[in-house]
Amino acid sequence: MLKIDPHQFILDYGLYACIQCGKCTGGCPMVIKTSLNPRNLIYRIIIAGNGFDVEGREELWDCTTCSTCATRCPKQVNPMEAVIGLRNAFVEKGKIHSNVKVALESTFRHGNPLTMLREERAAWAEDLSLPAMKQGVDYLYYVGCTPSYDPRVQHVTRAIVKIMQQAEVSFGYLGNDENCCGSEVRRLGEAGLFEMMVEDNTEIFKEFGVEKMFTTSPHCLNAFLKDYPKNKLSVLHYTQVLADLLNADPGEKGKKASDLFTGKLEATITYHDPCYLGKHNGIFDPPRDVLRSIPGVKLVEMDRSREKSLCCEGGGGRMWLEGTNPSVRLAQMRVKEALETGAEILATACPFCLLTLEEAVKHINAEEKIRVMDVAEIVEQAL
């Protein structure tokens, strides 16, 4: 038995507004492979009466928190947040998958969910002599955990540094003082630990005088923008910084596309909207603007793009969980959709998307036909 008080839960998450229209479930990318049904779940909570038992509802861990349900709901209910709320009940009772336990403990101890050492967080930048964050610097480059530690994503991180330096953007970084943003911790249902991290990070940003920052990952971006208490921080995704630079009027501070790109890249590219950049934060155009400004690039669109983008299954803590049906993978479907466009490069702008999509390309043996690259890596090629 793992019971929650449905009445309080319904009030907390505004579930009384639900009219059972089914838009959430109809649009949910997971329904094709799992028994997750947000509409049905809400209905069961509403009619539960004195106690709602979440025991055995393993499908709650399938949710990728892509937010399709929340953006489609005509009554502005947020089923995704309700799922996160229900996960909290599991976490409180300690009834969680061992992977999740490890990720949460690692975040608590080492400031990252990847069981890596805190002291090695900045190892990727050892040869780069990056400026430390200090007063007077325009931006903090908040790198993030996966971009700091994952050898594949480190390419993206280094590319971002190189581009920003060439574009003469003034930025600093926190080195080993950087701490996990807590996005995945919150989505895995560990509300308590997340609160602690909010406090720690808020303190760090204050200490270093951070006013503006850009992130590698849309997940970190989203956490700082939406999960942290209201603050005066201006948080951008790195693609926004680049797009602003490239779209800037001539004569304004910053580089124009023609100044930045000395090379070119003859390639047909399709862009996969990461959920946390697109659906969550409405950032659809900046990454596209950046890609389009690269000389030689032809940008083509998949049918499911922008608001309809298909989730790669990397969010909501799913990097640590296989879910109830690992035999069907949305990332593989996504790569097939990309192949249909005839693109040679599948671009994205999120470390999780990059990893899941690249894995999918290998699984379906499409390495000869398509490459998965981050927008930053693509830009780097044409510098």
């Binding site: 009219i19 059972q20 229209c21 089914g22 838009k23 959430c24 479930t25 109809g26 649009g27 949910c28 329904v31 094709i32 049904n37 509409r39 049905n40 399709t68 953006t71 489609r72 709901c73 005509p74 009554k75 502005q76 049918d303 499911r304 922008r306 608001e307 309809k308």
Partner: protein, 576 residues
């Protein structure tokens, strides 16, 4: 001789509405001891004939010059009691009401505190009553003509009714022809009559009526005046003209929701996705998508309605029946096609609607419950992704044609009319009626009435209903020939006024103007609605509102705070 108030106080039981929670005897007894009160009585229903007779008798016998009734809201019975004392020879403005029902007995439990509140409300009313002054209502003559803005079915019907009654009507239409949205429809529900025939007969009747002057491709650019005497400036094609009218009917219509704001539905991207509005135009001819007859048709309801993500939380009321109508016609024209309707609720509320809905299903149209989330493309065909909520299963339905049942929205083009007439909007953006039940065609501005979809989504029958109601309401001042003007207007103490004009800035009725010679502000008592904004804005305290003067307010407040010290309240009335 100095004025001495002789006040009669009447406490109403309102059956048990007040008497069950308020100690009426205690209130009556208390009121009797208030300064200026000559008589204090209680009665079961003060508004009844015997109740009113008591007041009249007392005015006569006791020489009362001010009357206070403690009962319901003044919105309910103030006119009743004003007429009562007027009958007995008093000025109707020598009356004050204490609302001890809506503001006391209905909202509190029966307790000493409730009775105490009633006592305080009565004390306060008595305090004000002593300061009331007799006021004179004025009558102004009416221009026996009406202006109707909007030439859709609502505007045309209103114009026709008023003209038939013998008044001159000017009908102003923005487009180059009459008929509005209905002129573009194929058939109507639930009778499947030709919409063209219906609207054309109306257009003919309006166009040929000697009492109606139709001005198309025109818009109202300025409106001045007040009930009985409006003056509108109409800008037509190449010339400008003035229209004088005693009443105005606004029938400016609606706008069809543009589903481009729901990008997940692919409207404007996929040629196979149309709106009900698009399909209506195709229905008379061959229905093809990319040159082929569609075999699988899916209707999606509530597009742009009941949807807070696009700011339209309301139901558009017509889409359920439009869908049923179109699905049925499609099924007749393309018998081999499979027609599926996705719905959240089927709202077939009107006369004969439910039967029409039955017939639609009988014709073979499949109804599935669920509001589709998105439309995607698989190969050559469209796929509607939804959950069939009755099965509890996500479904992907293939379609050659998807029809989005789009709702109604406030017409942004009517913003200028709203500005000219100071029309308020309800939270949904449509024009706000004066009261949702009791005054459904009136606006806050006297002499201005609403008809049709500018006030909220309606079908044709409902629009005609409201149009005829608005016409009837507009004809009241026209037929009377003169209109009374409420005396509770603002007035200016010229010695205090510096002519700064701050009052004119806050006045929504344009009732204040600077006297060109004396350089002080003057009030047009016909335009003034007595809202008091000017009095609050005046930095010199030069403006007062009759019936709500500073002196009267102060008397009210003093009586309220001191009232129950006049005599020691009994123990059970201790303040809680």
């Amino acid at each position: 001789m100095t004025f001495r108030p002789r006040i009669g106080v009447y406490i109403c039981h309102c059956g048990i509405n007040i008497a069950a929670t308020v100690d009426i005897a205690a209130v009556t007894e208390f009121a009797a001891r208030l300064p200026g009160v000559v008589i204090s009585r209680e009665y079961t229903y003060m508004c009844s004939d015997p109740g009113q007779a008591i007041i009249k008798q007392d005015i006569h016998d006791l020489d009362l010059n001010r009357v206070v009734v403690a009962s319901c809201s003044p919105r309910m019975h103030e006119p009743t009691f004003r007429a009562t004392i007027s009958d007995a020879g008093l000025n109707p403005y020598c009356f004050e009401m204490a609302n001890i029902r809506e503001q006391c007995s209905w909202v509190h439990a029966g307790s000493a505190a409730t009775t105490l509140k009633a006592i305080e409300l009565v004390s306060s009313a008595v305090g004000k009553a002593a300061q009331l002054e007799p006021l004179q209502e004025r009558q102004v003559p009416v221009t026996p003509a009406a202006l109707v803005i909007g030439g859709g079915v609502s505007g045309m019907q209103s114009a026709l009714d008023i003209a038939e009654a013998g008044f001159q009507v000017t009908l102003v239409e923005r487009k180059n022809r009459l008929g509005g949205h209905v002129a573009h429809l194929y058939k109507t529900f639930p009778t499947l009559e030709s919409a063209g025939d219906l609207v054309n007969s109306l257009i003919d009747a309006v166009s040929n009526h000697p009492g109606i002057k139709v001005i198309t491709e025109a818009q109202v650019v300025e409106i001045g005046g007040y009930i009985g005497n409006f003056k509108a400036t109409v800008m037509a094609n190449d010339h400008q003209l003035d229209v004088l009218a005693g009443a105005i009917i606004v029938a400016s219509g609606y706008e069809v929701f543009n589903p481009i704001r729901k990008p997940e539905l692919g409207y404007g991207v996929y040629p196979g996705v149309l709106t009900t509005w698009d399909l209506e135009k195709l229905l008379p001819g061959d229905i093809t998508v990319k040159g082929r007859e569609p075999e699988r048709v899916v209707f999606i309801k509530c597009v742009g309605s009941r949807d807070q993500t696009v700011g339209n939380p309301y139901c558009s009321r017509v889409c359920c029946m439009v869908t049923a109508k179109q699905a049925r016609i499609l099924k007749q024209k393309l018998p081999k096609s499979q027609v599926t309707v996705f719905y959240m609720d089927v709202r077939a509320f009107g006369k004969d609607f439910e039967i029409f809905y039955d017939k639609t299903r009988e014709a073979g149209v499949i109804y599935r419950r669920g509001n589709p989330s998105e439309i995607i493309k698989k190969g050559d065909h469209l796929v509607v992704r939804a959950e069939d909520t009755l099965l509890g299963e996500p479904v992907e339905v293939e379609a050659d044609l998807v029809v989005l049942a789009v709702g109604m929205e406030p017409d942004p083009q009517s913003d200028d009319i709203a500005g000219l007439l100071k029309l308020a909007r309800s939270s949904d953006g449509f024009f706000l009626e004066a009261h949702p039940k009791l005054r459904p065609v009136d606006t806050a501005t006297a002499g201005v009435f609403l008809a049709g979809c500018c006030q909220g989504p309606k079908d044709m029958a409902e629009s005609i209903n409201q149009a005829r109601a608005a016409a009837a309401a507009a004809m009241i001042p026209l037929m009377r020939g003169e209109v009374p003007v409420d005396a509770a207007t603002s007035f200016i103490e010229a010695e205090l006024c510096s002519g700064c004009g701050q009052c004119a800035e806050v006045c929504t009725y344009s009732a204040l103007t600077l006297h060109p010679v004396r350089k002080v502000m003057t009030v047009n008592p016909v335009l003034c609605q007595g809202c008091g904004a000017c009095a609050a804005a005046c930095p010199s305290g030069a403006i007062n509102v009759h019936q709500f003067t500073f002196t009267q307010f102060m008397a009210q407040i003093e009586a309220f705070s001191n009232g129950w010290e006049v005599s020691e309240p009994s123990k059970k009335l201790e303040k809680v």
